[in-house]
């Protein structure tokens, strides 16, 4: 009986985490297309519902009613598994994201490692989808994107080390609390920029959307997918983008902390600040999609391995020696 109540309690909590995320993913797709439209002096989606807010719901409905086509030569199991894995991984990572000091599903010791591990697993959805389709364009797209994601993970890992040097703990709440006096975006500004660009590459967003470069690869690894399975890839992608924004705001923008601990700002509830920061980062993602042309593949690899990796390594040495010289290294555990 005791187990049953715990189980029901946990499922209840998980549902209350997952459903708002799915709804916000739908809203964020609308925001993305709207910003994209406005930058190009178009209106963007504005017909379905107030301001076109229900556009994504209408799209999702359309996808649900479309037929799911599985190619005859595809590897059926893996073909079906791929979008499920993408979607699940994108949602599972949200378990450790703190929206306030107490509002977090599981406050684990190695939160940031967990996030990093889950985001590095994200590549499997793409490889599996591309390979199982048994067709040239998806396979090429999958290989490209796997190489891209593995490359940029390296620099994201080293950027995380930079932040961890200043914090001295892998717990996400500790990372946020240690930014009480100074957000890490100020002392580690170059790392914030590198993190942001790597996050663009990690989530396959323009200007790094090579896996699905329409002009070269039709739609990359999604070419053979249709109906709800395509929609799952698509939702997973946007949930991943939101996750990267959340990670950026926790690591550099002080998570759920208000910008200044003064009267009108600190009565605003903590989750509001977190959501505001995630939306701000997402707005940057959306603007960049609209204003930057696509990278060529060799340029992408050069940027990852020859520019970001050495630069962030040098910054690790700099941060470490600064902390050591001024005796600012975090002491012990929190």
């Amino acid at each position: 009986m005791e187990y049953l109540t715990t189980l029901i309690n946990e499922i209840y909590k998980i549902l209350f985490l997952v459903i708002p995320i799915l709804v916000s993913v739908a809203m964020i797709v609308w925001l993305d297309r709207r910003v994209w439209g406005l930058v190009q002096k178009r209106r963007g989606p504005n017909v379905v519902g107030p301001f076109g807010l229900f556009q994504t719901l209408a799209d999702a409905l359309k996808y649900i009613f479309k037929e799911i086509i599985i190619p005859a030569s595809a590897n059926k199991t893996i073909f079906i598994l791929a979008p499920i894995i993408t979607m699940t991984l994108a949602l599972v990572a949200w378990a450790v994201i703190p929206l306030s000091e107490t509002l977090v599903l599981s406050n684990i010791n190695v939160g940031i490692l967990y996030l990093f591990a889950i985001s590095s697993l994200g590549v499997y959805g793409i490889i599996m989808g591309g390979w199982a389709s048994n067709s040239k364009y998806p396979f090429l797209g999958a290989i490209r994107s796997a190489a891209q994601m593995v490359s940029y993970e390296v620099s994201i890992g080293i950027i995380i080390i930079n932040v961890l040097l200043c914090v001295g703990s892998l717990n996400l709440n500790d990372i946020v609390l240690s930014q009480k006096n100074l957000w890490y975006v100020i002392p580690l500004f170059p790392m914030f920029v590198v993190f942001f660009i790597s996050a663009l590459a990690e989530t396959n967003r323009p200007p790094f959307d090579l896996p699905e470069a329409e002009a070269e690869l039709v739609a990359g690894y999604q070419t053979e997918y249709s109906g709800m399975m395509y929609a799952m890839f698509w939702l997973g992608e946007y949930a991943n983008i939101l996750l990267m924004c959340a990670m950026g705001s926790i690591l550099f923008l002080g998570g759920w902390l208000p910008p200044l601990d003064i009267y009108p700002l600190n009565i605003v509830p903590a989750p509001f600040w977190m959501i505001f920061k995630i939306l701000f980062l997402f707005f940057l993602f959306a603007i960049i999609k609209a204003i930057v042309p696509r990278y060529r593949y060799d340029q992408l690899m050069r940027l990852g391995w020859k520019v970001f990796l050495p630069f962030s390594l040098i910054y690790v040495v700099l941060t470490a020696s600064f902390l050591l010289y001024f005796d600012k290294l975090p002491k012990g555990s929190f």
Binding site: N109, Y114, A117, S120, L170
Partner: protein
């Protein structure tokens, strides 16, 4: 405790099952996928013991990086075809050498496992002093960077050496490959890039040399 046991048996059965599937499944790509499942379930077992740092590192390093490269190689090389030509073809020279290696490994295992004696209470876990105020990331770090710093650094150097070696072995300079030189592009100016030419009729101009 019950839930703990259920999860333990779930993950360990999954680990053993997928380890068996790695060596028995017909398609090589499938066996790589089962290898990944094996890594993940072992990682979950690590987390269940409370070694969350090790579990996460296992996920990041093996699943996130090593297995991706495995998958890459297996998908690109079409190993199934090679297996066909190695073991089924007329002149199969690989079976004898494979047999020798596997018999040797079996003998080694027999020697090691045969000499294994059960000793009671050599290190009972109840006698261990565990400081719960320190997270296991901290304690691993404090052991690794004090008592075992030499071995730790040496293994890093060995990894670096093998990396350099692999790059030297595979690197070859190819001729006539067009690459983008950023320095060249940036240092172009009007004087060197634009010129005025009188073009003779029916001759044209030679560019790009």
């Amino acid at each position: 405790m019950l839930a703990h046991a259920i999860f333990f048996y779930f993950f360990s059965i999954l680990a053993i099952f997928s380890a068996l599937m790695v060596i028995t499944s017909r398609s090589t790509v499938n066996s790589v996928f089962f290898l990944i499942l094996d890594f993940i379930s072992v990682g979950c077992l690590f987390i269940m013991v409370g070694a969350e740092f090790l579990g996460m590192i296992l996920l990041i390093v093996y699943v996130g990086a090593v297995a991706v490269l495995f998958l890459f190689v297996v998908m690109m090389l079409n190993v199934a075809q090679q297996k066909q030509s190695w073991f089924v073809g007329q002149k199969s020279t690989h079976i004898p050498s494979g047999l020798i290696v596997s018999v040797l490994i079996l003998l080694e295992l027999l020697v090691v496992v045969g000499g294994w004696k059960y000793k009671e209470n050599i290190m009972s876990s109840s006698n261990l002093v565990i400081d719960t105020s320190i997270t296991n990331t901290h304690s691993i770090g404090s052991v690794m960077y004090t008592d075992y710093i030499l071995y730790f650094q040496l293994s890093g150097v060995i990894l670096l050496l093998s990396m350099v070696g692999a790059i030297i072995l595979t690197y070859r300079k190819r001729e006539n490959v067009k690459t983008q030189s950023y320095l060249k592009q940036i240092s172009r100016d009007k004087a060197s890039a634009v010129m005025l030419k009188d073009v003779e009729f029916n001759k044209g101009v030679k560019i790009d040399d």
